[in-house]
Symmetry: C2
Subunit: 357 residues, 2 copies
DNA sequence: TTGTATGCGTTATCAC
DNA sequence: GTGATAACGCATACAA
């Protein structure tokens, strides 16, 4: 798409006369014949200030192109209005969509997103954390799963984790002070149960689970829930195929499964992108029909899943709902740090399209 | 994919004893028996400080979990080490890849990405700019095309734009003070010329250009270059089909082109995602073969383009190269604001896959 | 090489 | 409701 047209810089060079362009509160105060404090109050809705005076100050501020300096403000308020996001792979469809939604929601609440790129292998670079710490984000969202909250908490002062847990809250009771923290419970089993039922309804007996990254908690729980759902329906445990959430790995793994391994009646992928890889391997290299010969189910329901070439039947996680819940938790904890731990719950459901039938 | 596992917050509540956890330069100084300034110097490689002393300070800083406060630092240095990015749609494959690469490259240079979401209709919200201004980013990258650099420059003090221009540098000579600014010249015509030649070689006579957003400069230039390349080869001008870079619009537009309009021998899409929409419409709804009945060419070469369902022949813009050039320009201008304007050039080339043949 | 004094732009505290 | 003053945490100029 190649959309962006230009970049703008702030050289702050000597030639540019700082003080004429960038107005300060003092200048606004002088111009409006009020104290510097009055200007500060004018920009703080809660502060008491005569309405007429506030209006005049705001008007003059606009004329002088004045904006309060967040850095200076944060120095004294101890609030940066920055939310750090640590992401290993911004390009991934699900993650980029989540970044998008989170940024939109947080921006509406007055927070800006501070984006950091983590190593591709999901290892948490201590340097990165130190670097980020310098910016003092009010909150941090980590898109990685192989780091224990306690590790991050140790690096970031006063960090209070929000656990994202899956399906079975009790399972996580053993975690250190688990119940002390806020939690987002994702009921993956809801959609997974529907998917397994649908597959069985179409005569599927052997399901292969195309796994995601092994460190991923979401992945191991998906696998567990699929196995459970199948057992409840009297089916044999799924064949587990190693994967890492990427298209290319899914493609090759599917090839191996059907050429070297014993194949399957259906492939349940740990995410949609993996499902795409499986579908393409089945159709374009193995010469099999989807859903005729093999059924495929994905997980996430990213926008690409409705593209006609795939038209994927998948377990949907409602992104908007998920982000709303997360932002609710963040803001709650930010505003009332001492409130009792809260648990938000998120359901999933099967979206039936064309890869099962 | 649903990867992230938890969030960490900084409540900064009263109960948390700020001063014990968050070490300050003074505390490190006291602990190391040096002055506060020495600590500052220890963290600034250029400052002169006895090596042994620096090591000791750094060691103690590590023990105390001390990191310099960027906000306080920026207050005096006038440098925030923040690069603002204004993006209308983070989920778009090309843009998310570009954000990823830019963030990685800038992070290596000590800059953090400050992400802002613009309105979907690409209109530049003045509130957003004011909001962003408060954070004083050292540089701003805008992923929108319908805003004149001068507008943004007016909002942000001392903003010096970097124009991204296309194919024909002279064409932009008329812009206000165009030659005063740094520029990235993208030679779209290179890859476009190759694509048109290939299409003609396979007997294509009528090409439809599936346009992108009309405000997009890249789009209008692509259209112009395709028309030019076709004229040079004695071909009739392309049929112009309206689009907006999205899959759904491309899908419907292709349907209209072949059902209501007169069809075409080939569809040249303004981006890869649009090409996917065209391919799916042709194959799955119009019952046509690609490349048998209709050839399709895209633009960008996003990762999805090699997915077997599409296997798209496309004009590649080297993302890494593009980002390197941009970062080079940014850093150059940041370090030496008064240097002479620079122009970086970027070529494009055709990647031949399976949708032409 | 090192330390002292000053200032960056803002808000919180306390008077009035 | 309003204004003076003191922080916030750091880097810079200058003096030693």
């Amino acid at each position: 798409m190649n959309t962006f047209s230009f970049l703008a810089l702030f050289p702050m060079s000597e030639r540019s006369e700082k003080r004429t362009m960038r107005a300060t509160a003092d200048q606004v105060a002088r111009e409006a014949n009020v104290s510097r404090v009055a200007v500060s109050r004018a920009f703080n809705p809660n502060a008491s200030l005569k309405q007429e005076k506030r209006d005049r100050i705001l008007q003059i501020a606009r004329e002088l192109n004045y904006t309060p300096d967040m850095a200076a403000r944060s120095l004294v308020t101890r609030r940066t209005h920055l939310v750090g996001m640590i992401v290993p792979d911004v390009c991934s469809p699900w993650e980029s969509a989540e970044i998008d939604a989170l940024t939109t929601a947080l921006q509406a609440e007055g927070f800006a997103t501070l984006l950091f790129k983590a190593k591709a292998d999901f290892s948490m670079d201590p340097t990165l954390l130190t670097y980020m710490r310098g910016f003092n984000p009010d909150s941090v969202i980590a898109f990685t799963e192989n780091i224990e909250p306690d590790v991050l908490s140790g690096f970031l002062d006063h960090a209070v984790p929000i656990y994202v847990i899956y399906d079975d809250a009790e399972q996580f009771a053993g975690k250190p002070s688990a119940s002390l923290y806020d939690r987002l419970l994702v009921r993956q089993s809801d959609g997974i149960g529907q998917a397994v039922a649908l597959l069985q309804g179409y005569g599927v007996r052997r399901i292969a689970y195309l796994a995601g990254k092994t460190q991923s908690l979401a992945n191991t729980e998906r696998q567990r829930m699929i196995t459970k759902a199948m057992a409840e329906r009297g089916m044999e445990p799924p064949v587990i195929v190693a994967g890492d959430y990427t298209y290319d790995t899914a493609y090759r793994a599917t090839l191996d499964l059907f050429r070297i391994g014993e194949g399957a009646d259906a492939v349940f992928a740990s995410n949609d992108v993996g499902a795409f890889g499986a579908i393409d391997a089945l159709r374009h290299e193995l010469g099999l029909s989807v859903p005729g010969d093999v059924k495929v189910v994905g997980f996430d329901d990213i926008p690409q899943s409705h593209w006609k070439s795939y038209n994927l039947t998948t377990v949907r996680i409602d992104l908007e709902e998920r982000v709303r819940a997360l932002v609710r938790l963040i803001l709650m904890r930010l505003k009332t740090p001492d409130a009792a731990p809260l648990t938000e719950t998120l359901s999933t459901r099967l979206v039936v399209r064309g890869t099962v039938g």
